[in-house]
Symmetry: C2
């Protein structure tokens, strides 16, 4: 027998993941042929020249090879506080990086995460409700696997969304209930849109079990206001929904008028104790950008011990998250303190990364808004801009008369064509808006602002020329 | 709303994972109370005193903190070949450990894995069919997720088996089709037992899609003969089954009369090209024992590009395996070469670990067989012994008259009670046979032989006294 598509799980066949789709594969081909590619498709800072934080890497190197700490020469290579911190990690966790840990992660790291939440939000946090994961994706998938019981269970996800959610919901045999983010209102959540999406799902027999919110937003770059979060919590409470709060970009807020509020904090302020909350964080984003280490955590809140035990069991089947990732998460929540030898360099490196991101976001925003037919209100945060693209109507194509599915496919093809042409002509690699979802009749692409500043400047210029020519060509064809 | 069990996916509720179950939790409690525990429950070498290989950790430390390589002092701390190897890794993969890689893993590492297979087996291997995974578990889960289409699809798994398989099949909503391993014949697979298990599954409407084989065996410690593997391949071919070959213990063969053969090699020898084969390997076992780094790979064979692309997509949803784990896998398949400065120490450390395991397996075997009522033919390989325990029949319990499910539960309780008493009285932590599955009317426990030799000697003595007293007590009650 040879395996064919009919032998494979339909849920897998149905799942799509645009961020690593055909445009990226084509970019890799072009690069092999010698073309210069500006990779703006994925939030992968260290692949785009961002340097890792010295403090973090020094400690990881000592944990990997503790023999170093017995050598005289090592004292010349590492600051004293780094040596002391590595020592204190190994005292609390003598097995080091090579042994499985408890299923939910190393206890002192879970406690450090709980302390981080207490300090960040001024609220209580319980280390027994913290699970260390291989990046935040694994946390999101654990929650979706646990909550989607059968094919009519639905999970509310934003449009546009990060395709981890749509792909995982498809894989775990649930239904996605898309709710539109409000582009006219800086991509905040909109209560009427939430209600409408629920309303539309009911006649299809879909039973909503939860809502996923990404704050700061991916792909939108939006930072949700306190009131917006409050509205979502009250909405979830009224409709018996669990909440996944995907807060991996919490450190990435650039707009001085915006501030990150966690769902946990707002929920605590509201004294809401009957909305189950699953909060995600990661060492991949922020200013660490340690994507390759796959560190992150899932915090459970308003969840009983009995249910929490089922999440622990799920982790135990997976044995445990990778230990270096766990340590990376530890160092994220436990940076050097003022007065320690490493502190000044740490702050300098941190500020350099964050201010560069802020600058690049600004350059992108100004540059893009100067192009007629491209527009962008944000980003306030994250590492992404979701750029609106005006495309002329195609001659002979009457979208109003198309069936919904046909229209979606037609429009997805149009923005894919746009992004593929952009790649072929300029080497700029972005992801079509249809990969994240968008309102019918609108077109977007997602770009990161991670490449070095000179490349962002180059991108803005090339984009202008490209877009003007593209629209001209399309208009002639129309 | 508060979440209760009715809100959770039944597949998750049904899944069980004995290796990290109630006995282990009790052991952790006792340890906190000051009792000395001998942890024989899990294959976690570095938690039991096994030291990591110097070569591997030196290279990882340099990759984590490449700045070291610019410092003069570093030359005194690392051998030249280690510095050169770290340099060559960073030349081929300049992003280092902090960036996402290609979904299937870093290309040069996938090529090194393919070369490892070519060298090991003398057969062709294609790096485009190698996927680097977070340990072998994730590879097994990917295959099960992809192949189990609906609730009547079944996967054949051994009894006894490593519970990753039963738990994952339950989670992905498939059916397990257990086939008994032949205890009387050193736990080899038995064709009649395979046929019988298929035969019994058919009237239940179960559609078999694949068979999982663990070689060397977990929990049995068996090394399958060439002919046994050949039989399994021909069986799979006749019945249109895919094969998962879980070969994570391939380096752990102690019996001089046994030899590891990969399914890939035997399949190549037989010129079988129409049985899809998924082979798993890991850096967690062998002599590296790097469980915490979660490195491993999945190799696809006799699988078309179209189907392989679906596995790549599945990986892309998970972004990529952790990079330090990928590097650990690289160093597993690419050890230092004869003549290099690190070679003698590497060989010395490797041999020390493997010969200690061999000794401890021997001590365990001899010691256990001296206890009346305990018996053990193996281990030939892996890190486990599956010890047969004779328990006296309980007065009033007529197992023959029980329904099958009741009998299974009753017998599972009996071997759990045995292991719990063993823990309470001696501090020895093992896993009941019922956690892996066993023939009705037989009792077993799985123990590793990973603890230091003096603890294995202590274990054997304590076990003798415990077992004699336990049987005496039970007999009085009967």
């Amino acid at each position: 027998m040879m395996l064919s598509r009919k032998h494979l799980n339909e849920n897998l066949l149905r799942a799509e993941y645009a961020v690593r789709g055909s445009i990226v594969l084509r970019a890799q081909e072009l690069e092999l042929q010698g073309k210069k590619i500006i990779y703006c498709n994925i939030g992968n800072p260290q692949a785009l020249g961002q340097r890792p934080l010295t403090y973090l890497r020094q400690i990881l190197s000592l944990i990997e090879y503790p023999e170093l700490m017995k050598q005289q020469a090592t004292d010349d290579l590492y600051p004293k506080d780094v040596l002391a911190k590595a020592q204190s990690i190994l005292e609390r966790h003598p097995h080091g990086s090579g042994a499985y840990t408890q299923s939910t992660g190393i206890p002192f790291i879970r406690e450090a995460v709980a302390q981080f939440i207490r300090d960040r939000d001024g609220i209580p946090a319980d280390s027994d409700r913290v699970i260390l994961t291989d990046g935040a994706s694994k946390g999101a998938q654990a929650v979706l696997l646990a909550l989607l019981r059968e094919k009519n269970d639905g999970f509310m996800i934003p449009i546009p969304q990060y395709p981890l959610y749509s792909a995982s919901i498809a894989m775990y045999n649930g239904k996605q209930i898309g709710y539109y983010l409000d582009e006219a209102n800086r991509w905040q959540l909109n209560e009427a849109a939430l209600t409408e999406s629920l309303h539309e799902s009911k006649p299809q027999g879909i039973h909503p079990v939860g809502i996923a919110v990404i704050n700061p937003g991916n792909p939108t770059g939006a930072v949700l206001s306190y009131d917006n979060i409050k509205m979502v919590i009250q909405f979830a409470r009224r409709h018996d929904l669990c909440i996944i709060a995907d807060e991996v970009y919490q450190e990435n807020v650039y707009d001085p008028d915006s501030k990150f509020y966690s769902f946990a904090k707002v929920m605590h302020d509201l004294d809401v104790k009957d909305v189950p909350l699953f909060s995600l964080h990661s060492a991949s984003k922020g200013f660490l950008g340690e994507c390759g280490h796959r560190g992150g955590y899932l915090e459970l809140r308003n969840i009983s011990s009995e249910i929490s035990a089922e999440f622990v069991k799920l982790q135990s089947i997976n044995l445990c998250a990778n230990v270096v990732g766990q340590l990376t998460t530890y160092l994220m929540v436990s940076p050097p303190k003022m007065g320690e030898e490493s502190y000044p360099l740490y702050i300098k490196e941190k500020n350099k990364i964050l201010s560069a991101l802020k600058n690049k976001a600004e350059i992108l925003k100004i540059g893009i808004n100067e192009v007629e037919g491209l527009s962008l209100d944000l980003p306030q945060g994250a590492m992404y801009a979701f750029v609106k693209v005006e495309l002329p109507a195609e001659k002979g194509a009457n979208v109003e008369k198309m069936k919904e599915a046909d229209r979606m496919q037609y429009e997805a093809q149009r923005d894919s064509d746009y992004c593929m042409s952009l790649l072929e002509e300029t080497g700029i690699c972005v992801v079509p808006g249809s990969g994240f979802g968008q309102l019918p009749g609108t077109f977007h692409f997602r770009t990161t602002f991670l490449p070095p500043q000179n490349e962002i400047e180059e991108l803005v210029l090339k984009l202008k020329t490209f877009h003007e020519n593209y629209v001209k060509k399309e208009s002639v064809l129309s």
